[in-house]
């Protein structure tokens, strides 16, 4: 059984209230989800709170996962990313300190451990992002990895909010066209 199928099965069992499956799911995916929370929050205590929120969500929302629409691992990663952004916005970025400076960091080297569909999806997305105008790409990545709002993005690039909105939407439109090719 491959890792994705195992996570699928554990999610389905968790949705039925199987606590042993939930524990196994935790063992399988918590390091990855904690890594995501740490990357976005850049503050360990905040990331630990996020991980608790993430697994509380998983317990209650496991039944909503639909394998026809995407991989279980990606679905879980989205929960971790969104919860991390929520925590950043709720608790403020002040506690994170100096580590927040600079642009968003795009993981530029494909991880050799990545394989199969995951590697292909990642490489395609990176390729499409690299085709974007640098400013558009930076805005999308800042919003994704730092949870910056339009207003914060406007402050970061010293441009009006409406202009940032236009750049973002142009970037996303180009990204969609590239991904659909």
């Amino acid at each position: 059984m491959d890792a994705e199928t195992e996570i699928d099965d554990l999610l389905r069992a968790t949705a039925k209230g199987d606590r042993a499956a939930f524990r196994l799911l935790y063992d399988r995916v918590s390091p990855k989800l904690f890594g995501i929370a740490l990357k976005i929050c850049r503050h360990r205590p905040m990331a630990e709170d996020v991980l608790q929120d993430v697994f509380t969500d998983i317990w209650y929302k496991a039944g909503r996962f639909d394998a026809r629409r995407g991989e279980a691992g990606a679905w879980l990663a989205v929960i971790a990313r969104n919860r991390s952004v929520d925590a950043l916005r709720r608790q403020g970025r002040g506690i994170i300190g100096a580590a927040t400076g600079g642009g968003a960091d795009l993981p530029d080297a494909p991880d050799p451990a990545l394989s199969g569909d995951g590697r292909a999806a990642y490489l395609t997305l990176i390729d499409c992002l690299n085709r974007l105008d640098e400013r558009q790409r930076d805005l999308i990545l800042r919003a994704y990895f730092r949870g910056d709002t339009r207003e914060e993005l406007a402050g970061a690039v010293d441009a009006p909010v409406d202009t940032v909105r236009t750049w973002l939407r142009r970037g996303l439109a180009s990204l969609k066209t590239c991904l659909d090719e």
Partner: protein
């Protein structure tokens, strides 16, 4: 879905536009974007969480279950209280009818 609405969904997935008032169709479009962008998280290195973390999560879920059980009990008590009041009124009504007859 139209181009503009799909871009709205993409912005909601990024978090640069609010989700409030999102339609069911808009939610599906936003979730599709979320899954598409999740590929960016693939290379993120796993980090072992603290050893007591699962216990903390279990404790939190146990508290939540207790709160839900209490809320259910309160709802049930309110429902039975209502039924008792209605039944009491029916008994009083019938008694008055009998006495009048």
């Amino acid at each position: 879905m139209g181009r503009e609405r799909d871009l709205d969904a993409a912005e909601r997935a990024l978090g640069t536009a609010p989700r409030k008032g999102e339609s069911a169709r808009g939610k599906r479009a936003r979730e599709a974007w979320e899954l598409r962008l999740a590929a960016l998280l693939r290379p993120v290195e796993p980090v072992a969480p603290p050893s007591g973390m699962f216990g903390r999560i279990s404790e939190r879920l146990a508290h939540a279950r207790t709160r839900e059980a209490l809320a259910d009990a309160r709802r049930s008590a309110r429902r039975w209280k209502g039924i008792a009041v209605v039944a009491g009124l029916i008994v009083v009504g019938l008694s008055l009818l009998l006495l009048a007859g």
